[in-house]
């Protein structure tokens, strides 16, 4: 059995396996490119052309800067631009400050499961639902105004002040922060698993530093590289958000993204040029914003180093951090109240202004939606379930496949995967839709599912790859040395050990899909209504009951999935101490 023939067979088999693996790998890259990368590039191209005057549908195809000139001279353009920049930057900076502060305050103080349950609730609630709920609280006729009235004033009419939809975009900023803090908390808490926080805290305290100062000078510098990408995603998202900006953002002028959307749906076909120019401009804004953020990082680092070198032990940072953490808690409390107010509104019947509680109750809104609009709910749930499962499958295939390409190519591929989270949705979805129309496809559940997976797949990759990589490789080596094949190792060791992160990333994918607005609207051509498109469409109207029902339905299903994702590993691994909630 030890003859040279057998050895050469071994060698050939090894080479064949390698070849097969490489060709399967190329196939996977080809599929990913065809399904994810090409559509984005083509869609972007189809948006770029009209902005420079090339619009064959209207019989114009002359290279010109007319659209850009029109855009810049459009009344309100300047304030729309500065509004976009202000809301985008302010919300991202504040959201990250609040996140760091709250992390510093709860680290090692609050039980892990409590944090998780709380986080899951907020993570599961889609953007539009948060915006609608917060609008109910802060509107002149909202809950807070009613509370004030019942105690102090004699308002019989809602006060004539502007709270939500304010011209400065303050309410948009607050709403964005309320939604982004939970996401950043999730990312930061995961990053904290990578460093021995408690030891660093002990060392720092022993050197005479307070909690906040240890965080700023020791902990944050270590975890920042791990959460940087997520901050960029939040920044890009905040600069191009649409659904929230429609619901709570200013309207005269609105942010650039809303302006662009309005032009896209303007009956005058020449508005299309303006719309595409505004969409391309948003892409440039995001590129510029990332560069500016980079410069800000440099400045903060320099200032931080100077501060660290001084060796000064101060209390001010502790007070400041406590203040910020308190603000964050107030904000999260408002989000919770917002959810409660949605529940109350959905079952309220008569609820005239100064009253703090409804006069009469009714389930009519629920029965109406559940009886005659069940198809909308069905669409949303089916799309979210299919999208998250398919994306999870591809994510596992992608992470599991042996990597043959060089590290630099790997970074490019990763960049391509997360590209949809950086380009404004509006800058390629309409172009993509034009391609769809010209190639004869029509809106269907399948095309909407695919459009959703452009966004769900990168989120799943982002949330899963960290856990995937940090699984101790020696487990895999041990299993291989025990004679287990790759497939057996995947099925019996990796997937079971990663059950929790797998379920959580699937839940994140589900809630992302459930909350997507523009992809459903544009690729679905309005013929595939989802709870999110309905909620946003109704948000500008007056029927708070129906708005609440749709907003709650948006939040309800992701919440169920999230709690299942947290609960299932606890049940399956009830007898396995090591796997009970090792990491979020």
């Amino acid at each position: 059995m030890d003859d040279p023939i057998k050895q050469s067979v071994e060698k050939a088999l090894y080479a064949m396996n390698l070849k097969a693996a490489i060709s399967l790998h190329s196939a996977l890259i080809a599929i990913l490119t065809a399904a994810f990368f090409l559509p984005i590039v083509l869609g972007f191209w189809q948006t770029l052309l009209p902005s420079f005057g090339y619009l064959p549908v209207l019989g114009v195809s002359k290279f010109e800067f007319q659209a850009w000139q029109d855009l810049v001279t459009e009344p309100g353009f300047a304030s729309s631009l500065s509004l976009t920049l202000f809301t985008g930057f302010a919300s991202t900076v504040l959201a990250s400050l609040l996140t760091f502060s709250i992390c510093a305050m709860i680290q090692n103080r609050i039980g892990k499961f409590a944090t998780e349950k709380l986080l899951a609730t907020f993570l599961a609630t889609p953007h539009a639902a948060v915006a609608i709920g917060l609008a109910f609280l802060f509107a002149p006729s909202g809950f807070f105004s009613r509370l004030i009235t019942s105690w102090t004033t004699e308002w019989q009419q809602p006060p004539d002040i502007i709270t939500i939809n304010d011209d400065r975009g303050i309410s948009l900023i607050i709403t964005l922060i309320a939604k982004e803090v939970p996401f950043l908390l999730f990312v930061t808490l995961s990053a904290l698993n990578h460093i021995p926080t408690q030891k660093f805290m002990a060392v720092g305290h022993a050197l005479g530093y307070g909690r906040a100062q240890i965080w700023i000078s020791i902990i944050i510098p270590q975890i920042y590289p791990l959460i940087r990408l997520s901050l960029f995603i939040v920044l890009a998202f905040s600069l191009s958000v649409i659904d929230m900006a429609i619901i709570v953002g200013p309207s005269n002028p609105p942010t650039l993204s809303v302006l662009s959307l309005q032009w896209f749906y303007d009956p005058d076909p020449l508005s299309l040029k303006l719309a595409t120019a505004a969409a391309i401009l948003q892409t440039l804004i995001i590129v510029g914003a990332v560069i500016i953020w980079h410069a800000m990082e440099r400045i903060v680092t320099l200032a931080g180093r100077w501060w660290i070198r001084k060796g000064q032990r101060d209390n001010i940072s502790d007070y400041l951090m406590r203040l910020l953490a308190a603000l964050a808690v107030i904000l999260l409390a408002c989000s919770t109240l917002a959810l409660i107010s949605l529940i109350i509104w959905s079952v309220a019947w008569r609820w005239p202004f100064p009253d703090v509680t409804p006069l009469s109750w009714s389930l009519q809104s629920w029965t109406y939606v559940l009886n005659s609009k069940l198809n909308i709910l069905f669409n949303s749930v089916v799309i979210a379930a299919c999208t998250s499962l398919i994306s999870l499958f591809f994510a596992i295939a992608w992470l599991e496949w042996p990597k043959f390409e060089s590290p630099s190519i790997r970074i490019i591929v990763f960049g391509v995967i997360i590209l949809p989270l950086f380009i404004p949705q509006i800058a390629f979805l309409f172009g993509l839709h034009i391609l769809f129309l010209s190639s004869g496809f029509s809106a269907s559940l399948i095309s909407v599912c695919w459009a959703h997976s452009l966004f769900v797949f990168p989120y799943i990759i982002l949330t899963l790859s960290d856990s995937w990589r940090s699984l101790d490789k020696r487990y895999i080596r041990s299993a291989a040395s025990l004679g287990a094949s790759r497939l057996k190792i995947l099925a019996r060791v990796k997937l079971p050990m990663l059950l929790r992160p797998l379920l959580i990333s699937a839940a994140i994918g589900f809630s992302v899909s459930m909350g997507l607005y523009l992809p459903s609207l544009v690729i679905g051509e309005g013929r595939i209504p989802t709870v999110t498109t309905e909620a946003v469409a109704l948000a500008t109207g007056a029927d708070r009951r129906l708005q609440s029902v749709y907003a709650l339905l948006q939040a309800l299903f992701p919440m169920i999935i999230f709690f299942a994702a947290l609960l299932i590993p606890r049940i399956v691994y009830a007898e396995r101490a090591y796997l009970r909630g090792v990491r979020l």
Partner: protein, 217 residues
């Protein structure tokens, strides 16, 4: 059983001309513990990775590994029949103690239908009777080390690699676990290659010692 033989093994980082391990040849005889010693970072664990088939793609290796006359240099790790024990026990945390052993127990080599009985038998030989349904996390360090060895041996390896397996155990436990591991592995007449820092390991092993030095630049 057969010997484990390395011939002219050279390992270097892909982007470096300087070899980590330069033209190393050695023979580990069956039923003997052969030691590899040397300062940290000298490439001891990398060498074991190479033998087990787990070498990181960042490294390039030349030379061959044989068990008896069979050249395993290019084999898939799972087909090499090379058992390995690390510093940490690496019992799969999602499986019970018994399931961990069943995962190791080869179905093609143990035709017995009663796999469970084999497991119970192995456990009782290790003074762990009745532990099959326990969560690995509930075991003491010494117990976990013993289960890990059982799991490795149930896969019927042709050679055993030990990567500082006792380093994390306290002095008293170390002696116990070490004699348990050596006793059982030697009884199976396996060639055993052990990487260690600990002089007492060397004294207890009593086999040949190879000392890796900084390769000259």
């Amino acid at each position: 059983m057969k010997k484990l033989e390395l011939s002219h093994v050279t390992i270097r980082l892909r982007n470096s001309a300087h070899p980590l391990i330069d033209d190393l040849s050695l023979v580990a005889l069956s039923g003997e513990v052969t030691l590899i010693m040397g300062p940290s970072g000298i490439g001891k664990s990398t060498l074991l990775d190479f033998i087990g088939g787990h070498l990181d793609p960042a490294f390039l290796a030349r030379g061959s590994v044989k068990i008896g006359e069979l050249d395993i240099t290019y084999m898939e790790p799972e087909r090499r029949r090379v058992g390995i024990m690390f510093q940490d026990d690496l019992l799969f945390p999602h499986l019970s103690v018994g399931e961990n052993l069943l995962f190791g127990l080869r179905s093609d080599l143990n035709k017995a239908t009663d796999r469970q009985a084999l497991i119970e038998d192995a456990l009782s030989r290790a003074d762990l009777a009745g532990f099959a349904n326990r969560d690995p996390a509930s075991l003491s360090g010494g117990q976990r080390a013993r289960v890990t060895l059982l799991r490795t041996l149930l896969a019927k390896p042709h050679a055993l690699l030990l990567d500082e397996p006792f380093a994390k155990l306290d002095k008293h436990l170390r002696t116990d676990v070490r004699s348990f591991v050596f006793e059982h592995a030697i009884a199976e007449k396996l060639p055993i290659l052990m990487v260690t820092h600990d002089e007492t390991d060397a004294a207890a092993a009593g086999g040949k010692v190879f000392i890796l030095h900084e390769t000259s630049r």
